[in-house]
Symmetry: C2
Subunit: 499 residues, 2 copies
């Protein structure tokens, strides 16, 4: 199992002994100015560290690497050094994590709100429609989930125009990169311990990260609450997964630290091997399941046939703890994010006025396409907006002229298709220089970054067992190919350097 | 940094609770009888474990993988489960380690013995000749090495005919697989913790392994003895190295645990960047060096030009601690192994009669080609012998008809070329069934195994600071392609299951 490296190197000790402590030197963020030989040493060490500590993925160019472990491995594309990030914004994001955790839970309990808010989306988007069908069935049978857990990640950017931390999206299903975030933190702390004095960077300014341990801890505590010592945790996985080692790492933590067995199954396998026992227990391949941990099921691609939808329904109907429930999943849709941003809506779910103010401060403008004033404004000034589909996955956002044309077409059509999209205030994020390392090579460029703050949550009826901010991950992308709004897909992983 | 996994799994706990403790069941060594589904699960878990814990090498099919870290990675070819090994033989091998450590040191001090024993080899083998030249120069200048250290590995096989543990060879330079041995131990212990009850195997019967920590510890203590806090450890490396992560892991241990910096250089780079300061200190690229840790220099391929020989001489002349010195290197030659096996020779170096008996018990028959009686016997019965070159590296051994023909040719020629070889008693090792995993695929077969026991040694003048057995590594190979004597090259890595 990998551990972040924290020991100071001799270099740093020497620096301290020489009196040229890195705390005194101004941080060197213009990474283009780094001496080339030094830079090559740092890159080399980063590649070694990544291998020794399993900051690895399956290489796309190796066909089997998403199915067979241990073959076709390559280091994760990464940012060599952390990007600058204001400490005040960082604290703001961390403070928001437990507030968002609680908000997700509260909204998930309001079945009517979810159904009504998504009613138009239902007609336009087949995937959301199928999720809503399952949700409806649960409402009909009055399914209660006493034990509810969330591993959520709220993603933020800093808008350069307003100098504010703005939420891009909230991930409530298959929240990934907990391990990768932790390993990146370990890597950057290790590199700064060795080379920080040459760069004026102090490894203590890279925030600590506990996301992966906390994820495993939350799953383990949920397993305990379910209270069946013979039950296992079911990890729902995709058929191909090049980021499988993060999932395996969590399973290894569950086994070694928490003594809990986990099994991996695709939705198709769960349909074939799963059933609900008379007492409500989910059984898969003869194994009782206490917790269903989704690392698949968030995209239509995961449901190629009715088989997979049957599996999803089966799990939802069972007594197993779902991470997440269908309700939590729906709370993570863009449409709900947009509904919550409407005046007066947050107040329905949150009593604490300070919390409401904090939540609202990070909401970017979010509008339905039913709002004709905003649509008109967007057609006139498309550069101020981004059009986003309801679904997860990224990469399908619409900008600029295409946004204008799409809106005009939708107006002509007069169809329900507009409900498949929302309009969002276009964020103009700050850029910073970075060194990006991919496939053993490095390049420099100006990047924009999106910081995701993890929260874990577990409650049993009225008892809140876990509600915390657990860690973070940062995605960084060359800004020249950035089209605004959110990052389409992701570039490389990163951390932050608090300024 | 990776850690072997030792926690028992839920499966094993359940097995104990059910009363079907693995201690009671007879070990299942006929691995061909394992249920196919179970086997696939074990293979899958082994591949995952290997990736999470850096049991990885550069893939030969990826060109850059020996030069650029983090790319073209693949799990190490491995034996899925440990092979049976008698506990009495195991204890014998472990007891021998400190005795061999001390023997190597004592022999290294007898420059005349080394020169005389290798005098005929010198004429026949250019590589040994160059090593002897450096050794001669050190004798001429009366170079004293007060601080001497060894990371040695003695490799053994069990001869089925005599039921005895026989030494195959002694490695005194670039002794590798310390990390790989430890990781294999961690892997097998982890797999047996999970699946042992189905196989009647108990993870406690796989011996503990501390080889890599002890290697780093010995280097760190040598660094301390040298007593220059600003000095670094120099790791002498090959230009291409697909097993580089083991070396990097040791450097990481030195940095993180012992706060010692290490640098990596090829012999060519050392020739370009190295010099000896007036006080005798070795300086490479401006960095004072306290310990030279050879992970190259053991094969003629590492010396493509005079440049590399200059580098070797430079290091030997300096005050840096050499792991190993030129003397230690020479002690590891086959010819010295053969000399030590001659009647009365051990007694020149070892006082303790019990130690002498223990050493002699593990010596296979070893003869010079000057011994005409033995040569005659080998021509008549080539199947009882193996002909080995003096040099390290394996793969060039001669057996059967070719052995007979080579001996006849050498007799005719009447040249000095016979001094390049020795004759060794052919060992007939026991075979056992095994499951070999390579490139994500597995296959079964009958294998023979060679167990290497590591020893670490450090002394400063009369003070012995370290002299221990530190761990082990096992190499396993399909027996059908086995031609006798020693393993030509190696197949896959393994551990042992004590019976």
């Amino acid at each position: 199992m990998s551990q972040p490296l924290t020991t100071n190197s001799v270099l740093v000790e020497e620096a301290a002994a020489d009196g040229d402590s890195s705390a005194a030197a101004p941080p060197l963020f213009d990474y283009h100015r780094i001496d080339q030989k030094l830079l090559q040493n740092i890159v080399y060490d980063a590649l070694v560290w990544s291998t020794l500590n399993c900051l690895l993925v399956g290489d796309k160019s190796v066909q089997r690497s998403g199915r067979v472990p241990g073959v076709g491995l390559v280091h994760l594309p990464l940012s060599l050094l952390p990007g600058p990030f204001p400490e005040s914004h960082w604290k703001q994001g961390c403070e928001l994590a437990p507030i968002f955790n609680e908000l997700v839970d509260r909204v998930s309990l309001d079945g009517k709100f979810l159904q009504e808010s998504l009613s138009r989306t239902k007609n336009a988007d087949e995937f959301t429609s199928r999720l809503l069908d399952i949700h409806s069935k649960m409402l009909q049978i009055n399914k209660k989930e006493d034990i509810r857990m969330g591993i959520v990640r709220s993603d933020y950017m800093i808008d350069e125009k307003t100098k504010s931390l703005l939420q891009i999206e909230m991930n409530t299903i298959s929240t990934s990169f907990a391990l990768i975030g932790c390993l990146m933190t370990g890597l950057h702390k290790s590199l700064l311990s060795q080379y920080g004095k040459f760069l004026g960077l102090n490894s203590n300014r890279v925030p600590a990260n506990n996301a992966v341990d906390q994820s495993a801890e939350a799953l383990a505590k949920a397993w305990s609450e379910y209270n069946n010592p013979r039950a296992a945790i079911l990890v729902v996985v995709q058929v191909e997964e090049r980021n499988m080692y993060e999932q395996h790492y969590i399973s290894a933590l569950l086994r070694e630290k928490h003594h809990i067995r986990s099994i991996r199954k695709t939705l198709t396998e769960i349909d074939q091997e799963g059933k609900i026992l008379p007492d409500g227990t989910l059984s898969v391949d003869g194994q009782a399941i206490s917790v269903v941990y989704f690392r698949a099921g968030y995209t239509p691609k995961d449901y190629p046939s009715e088989s997979e939808w049957r599996a999803r329904l089966l799990m939802e109907q069972s007594s197993a703890i779902k991470c997440p429930t269908i309700s939590y999943h729906l709370v993570g849709t863009k449409k709900i994010q947009q509904e919550l941003a409407k005046p007066g809506v947050l107040e329905r779910f949150v009593e604490n006025k300070d919390h409401i103010a904090k939540l609202r401060a990070c909401f970017a403008g979010l509008w339905s396409l039913e709002d004709s004033d905003i649509v008109k404004k967007a057609i006139e000034n498309p550069e101020l907006f981004v059009m986003k589909p309801q679904r997860e996955g990224g990469g399908n956002n619409i900008y600029g002229d295409e946004l204008r044309e799409t809106l005009l077409k939708l107006q002509e059509a007069g169809s329900q298709e507009d409900a498949a999209y929302i309009l969002m205030q276009r964020i103009f994020p700050a850029t910073s220089p970075a060194i990006l390392v991919r496939d053993g090579n490095w390049d420099t460029g100006h990047v924009i970054s999106e910081a995701g703050i993890f929260g874990t949550y577990l409650r049993n009826k009225d008892k809140i067992i876990i509600n915390n901010e657990s860690g973070y991950m940062v995605r960084t992308k060359i800004s020249s190919s950035y089209e605004g709004g959110v990052l389409p897909g992701f570039g490389v992983v990163d951390t932050v350097y608090l300024t």
